[in-house]
C-alpha cells in the first residue's frame, strides 16, 4: 500500500471518508461537524466553516452532503441516543461527542441504552455505532475540557473503548470501529491531532483488542496509552543511554483488552509501570496493575507501579497543568527506582 505523511486528525478524517464511501449506511453527526453548513452562503462545494471544533471532520459534508453529515443542536442525549436508535434499526452512525467531559449530560444513552440493549433483548439487537470524542490535558483547557474518562467507559460491559496514539493506528482502529457491530467509543487526544506519521492511502483495519508493542526491551514493561505512549517512548530513549531497555506496550484498545500481550511482556521483563494521564482511582492504571498482579504474580520482581495524574481536577494554569500531567522525567525516575 502506498503511504504518505498525514496528521493524526487527517488520518481520522480519512478513515471516516473511506468508510462513508464504502458503506452508505455510515452517517456522521455532532455539533458543528459540518459547521455552518446550513447557512445560505455556505451552500455548495467546499463551503463549510469548521468541520468540527478542531477541524477533524473538515470537508466531509462537501463530499457526503448534509443528509449524511449532520450538524446537531447542543443536545447530546438526543443525538447520541439517536445514534443508538439508528444503529439498532439499520444505520452505522458515527456520533461526535465533542469533548468526553460532556458525557455527563448524555451517558444514559451510552451505558444504559447502547451498551445494554443487546443483552437485555436476549441478543435480538445489535448496535453498530461509534462515538468519537476528545480527551486529554495539555491544551490549557482546564477542568471541564481536559479529562481522560476512558476508565469509566471501560467499566461498563457492552461497549468497546479504543485510544489510538499514532496517525497509523488512528486510521486503522477507526475503520475497525466503524465496521464493528458493537458500540465503540473512540477517544482522540486533542494534543495529538497535529502529530504526523506515515499512513497508507487505502482502507485498512487494525483489529480491536490487539495491543501494540511500540518498543521492545527486556528490563521493564511500561503499559500506556494515548499521548503517554510518546512520553513513555521518550523516557525509554533516555534510559537506553544507561543501558536500560524498556518495553513500551501501547494498549490501543482498553475493552476488549489484550491481556496476553501485556502478560507476556511482564513475564519477560518482570517489572511493570502503567503510565496514564487520567486520575488514579478505579482506573485503567489500577486495572492493568490488577491484571498483572493477579496473572503474572510469580514473575514480578518489583511492585507494579502507576504513574498517573493526582486525585485532583485538571488545573488551568500552564505551570500547574505541566506539573499535573505525568512527565518524561517522572517516568524515567520511576523506572530507575524499580531497577
Amino acid at each position: 500500500m502506498a503511504t504518505r505523511t498525514l496528521t493524526f486528525s487527517g488520518a481520522i478524517n480519512e478513515a471516516m471518508r473511506l468508510e462513508m464511501r464504502r458503506d452508505p449506511t455510515v452517517i456522521l453527526m455532532g455539533e458543528d461537524v459540518a459547521g455552518g453548513a446550513t447557512l445560505p452562503h455556505m451552500e455548495g462545494e467546499g463551503k463549510e466553516a469548521w468541520g468540527g471544533v478542531l477541524g477533524v471532520t473538515k470537508d466531509l459534508v462537501t463530499e457526503f452532503g448534509r443528509d449524511r453529515v449532520l450538524d446537531t443542536p447542543i443536545s447530546e442525549s438526543s443525538f447520541i441516543g439517536a445514534a443508538v436508535g439508528a444503529a439498532s434499526t439499520g444505520l452505522r452512525p458515527i456520533a461526535e461527542l465533542m469533548f468526553v467531559d460532556f458525557f455527563g449530560v448524555c451517558f444514559d444513552q451510552v451505558f444504559n441504552q447502547g451498551a445494554k440493549l443487546r443483552y437485555m433483548f436476549g441478543g435480538k439487537a445489535q448496535v453498530p455505532m461509534v462515538i468519537r470524542t476528545m480527551i486529554g490535558g495539555g491544551f490549557r483547557a482546564a477542568a471541564q475540557h481536559s479529562q481522560s474518562l476512558y476508565s469509566i467507559f471501560t467499566h461498563i460491559p457492552g461497549i468497546k473503548s479504543v485510544v489510538p496514539s499514532t496517525p497509523y493506528d488512528a486510521k486503522g482502529l477507526l475503520s475497525a470501529a466503524i465496521q464493528d457491530n458493537d458500540p465503540v467509543i473512540f477517544f482522540e487526544h486533542k494534543v495529538l491531532y497535529g502529530m504526523e506519521g506515515e499512513v497508507p492511502e487505502d482502507n485498512y483495519v487494525i483489529p480491536l483488542g490487539v495491543a501494540d508493542v511500540k518498543r521492545e526491551g527486556n528490563d521493564l514493561t511500561i503499559v500506556t496509552l494515548g499521548r503517554m505512549v510518546h512520553f513513555s517512548l521518550e523516557a525509554a530513549e533516555k534510559l537506553t543511554g544507561d543501558g536500560v531497555e524498556v518495553e513500551v506496550v501501547d494498549l490501543r484498545s482498553l475493552s476488549p483488552l489484550d491481556e496476553e500481550t501485556i502478560l507476556a511482556s511482564v513475564r519477560k521483563t518482570h517489572r511493570l509501570i502503567v503510565v496514564d494521564e487520567a486520575n488514579p482511582r478505579c482506573s485503567i492504571a489500577t486495572d492493568i496493575v490488577a491484571l498483572a498482579a493477579g496473572q503474572a504474580f510469580d514473575y514480578l520482581d518489583a511492585p507494579p507501579t502507576m504513574v498517573t495524574a493526582p486525585h485532583a481536577p485538571v488545573p488551568f494554569s500552564p505551570v500547574l497543568e505541566d506539573a499535573y500531567l505525568p512527565s518524561v522525567d517522572t517516568i524515567v525516575a520511576t523506572v530507575q527506582s524499580l531497577l
Binding site: 438526543s78 443508538v84 439508528a86 434499526t89 449530560v105 443483552y119 433483548f121 436476549g122 439487537a125
Partner: protein
C-alpha cells in the same frame, strides 16, 4: 370514525381486551409471588396504545416505557414469550435476560420497554433518522409518560425531531401521576401538549380513555410523519387502574378517583359504542373475550412449563456481537 373498517375494530377490541386480560392475570401472578422484580401494569390505558398503533405496520417502530406490556401487545408481540419473560424463563421474549422492564421485540418494531424514564425519546429520533436517511416511509411512535415530560431527554428529542423533520410521533400518556406525584405538581405547563409550540409542531390533547379520539388524533399525526412533514405531539389523558408498580398500596388515590376512573373504562366505552352503533355484535365481542382469555391462559401455561435459562450457557453471551 366512519372510516374504521370492521377488521380494524375487531383487531382493536381484541388487542385492548388481550392487554387487559394479560395485565389482570399478571397482577394475580405477582400477588402469588410468581413474578420477580418490578412490574408496572398498563390496565386502563389500553385505548392509547391500541388507538395509536392501529395506524402502524410491522415495519414501523415504537419506543416504550417501564409500563410496556400494553405497547408490546398492541404492536403484535406474542403473549406467550412475553409471559415467559416476566417469569424469567429461557423461552422469554428476551431469553429471561430483560424481564418486564426491558421486554422487546425488534423484529416486530418494538424497540423495548425501558427502565429509564424519558430514554425512549432519543431512541425514537434514531429510528426516525434511519427512515429519513434510507428514504423509507417508516414511522416511529414514542410513548412516554406525564412524568417523563419533565426529563431533559424529551425536550431534546422533540426539538431534534422537529428541526430534522423526523417521522416521529410523540405520544404522552398522561395518566395523572408519576409514581405518587400528581402531574399538576410536577408539570408547569397547563397542558403537556402546550409544549408543542416550543418545538413548532402540532400539539393536541385528547381523552385517552376514548379509543376513537386517540385513533383520530394519531391518524393525522402519523399521516403527517409518513409524508415527511415532521413530528407531532399528542397528549392522551387517562389513568392507570393498578398502582405505580405491583405492591403499591395506592394510598394517594381517593375512592372517588377510583370510582371516577372505573366509570371511564376504555374497553367498556369502546364496547358500548360499537354495540350501540351496530358495528360489532355481542357474539363477536364474546368470541374475542373467550379467545383472549385462552391466549393468556396458554401464555401462563407456556411460561410455567418453560425451562429456566442455564447460567453456564447464557450468562455472559449477548453482551457483544464479538469480543475476542
Amino acid at each position: 370514525m366512519a372510516e374504521i373498517n370492521k377488521e380494524k375494530l375487531l383487531w382493536a377490541y381484541e388487542r385492548m381486551k388481550l392487554i387487559r386480560t394479560f395485565e389482570d392475570r399478571v397482577a394475580g401472578l405477582f400477588a402469588e409471588g410468581k413474578l420477580p422484580g418490578f412490574v408496572h401494569l398498563y390496565a386502563g390505558e389500553e385505548a392509547i396504545g391500541v388507538g395509536v398503533i392501529s395506524h402502524l405496520t410491522d415495519k414501523d417502530y415504537i419506543t416504550s416505557t417501564h409500563r410496556g406490556h400494553g405497547h408490546c401487545i398492541a404492536k403484535g408481540v406474542d403473549v406467550s414469550p412475553m409471559m415467559a419473560e416476566l417469569y424469567g424463563k429461557a423461552t422469554g421474549a428476551c431469553k429471561g435476560k430483560g424481564g418486564s422492564m426491558h421486554i422487546a421485540d425488534v423484529d416486530k418494531g418494538m424497540l423495548g420497554a425501558n427502565g429509564i424514564v424519558g430514554a425512549g425519546g432519543p431512541l425514537a429520533c434514531g429510528s426516525g433518522l434511519m427512515a429519513k436517511t434510507l428514504g423509507t416511509d417508516q414511522v416511529t411512535v414514542c410513548f412516554f409518560g406525564d412524568g417523563a415530560a419533565e426529563q431533559g431527554t424529551m425536550h431534546e428529542a422533540m426539538n431534534l425531531a422537529s428541526i430534522w423533520k423526523l417521522p416521529v410521533v410523540f405520544v404522552c400518556e398522561n395518566n395523572g401521576y408519576a409514581e405518587t406525584t400528581p402531574w399538576g405538581y410536577h408539570c408547569a405547563a397547563k397542558d403537556i401538549s402546550d409544549r408543542a409550540v416550543a418545538y413548532d409542531m402540532p400539539g393536541a390533547t385528547v381523552d385517552g380513555t376514548d379509543f376513537f379520539a386517540v385513533y383520530e388524533a394519531a391518524e393525522v399525526a402519523i399521516e403527517r410523519a409518513r409524508k415527511g412533514e415532521g413530528p407531532s405531539l399528542i397528549e392522551c389523558r387517562g389513568f392507570r387502574y393498578y398502582g405505580h408498580f405491583e405492591g403499591d398500596a395506592m394510598l394517594y388515590f381517593t375512592e372517588e378517583e377510583k370510582a371516577r376512573n372505573r366509570a371511564r373504562d376504555p374497553i367498556e366505552s369502546f364496547k358500548k359504542r360499537v354495540l350501540e352503533r351496530g358495528l360489532l355484535s355481542e357474539e363477536e365481542i364474546a368470541g374475542i373475550d373467550a379467545k383472549t382469555a385462552k391466549m393468556v391462559e396458554e401464555a401462563v401455561e407456556f411460561a410455567e412449563e418453560s425451562p429456566w435459562p442455564v447460567p453456564e450457557d447464557v450468562l455472559t453471551t449477548d453482551v457483544y456481537v464479538s469480543y475476542p
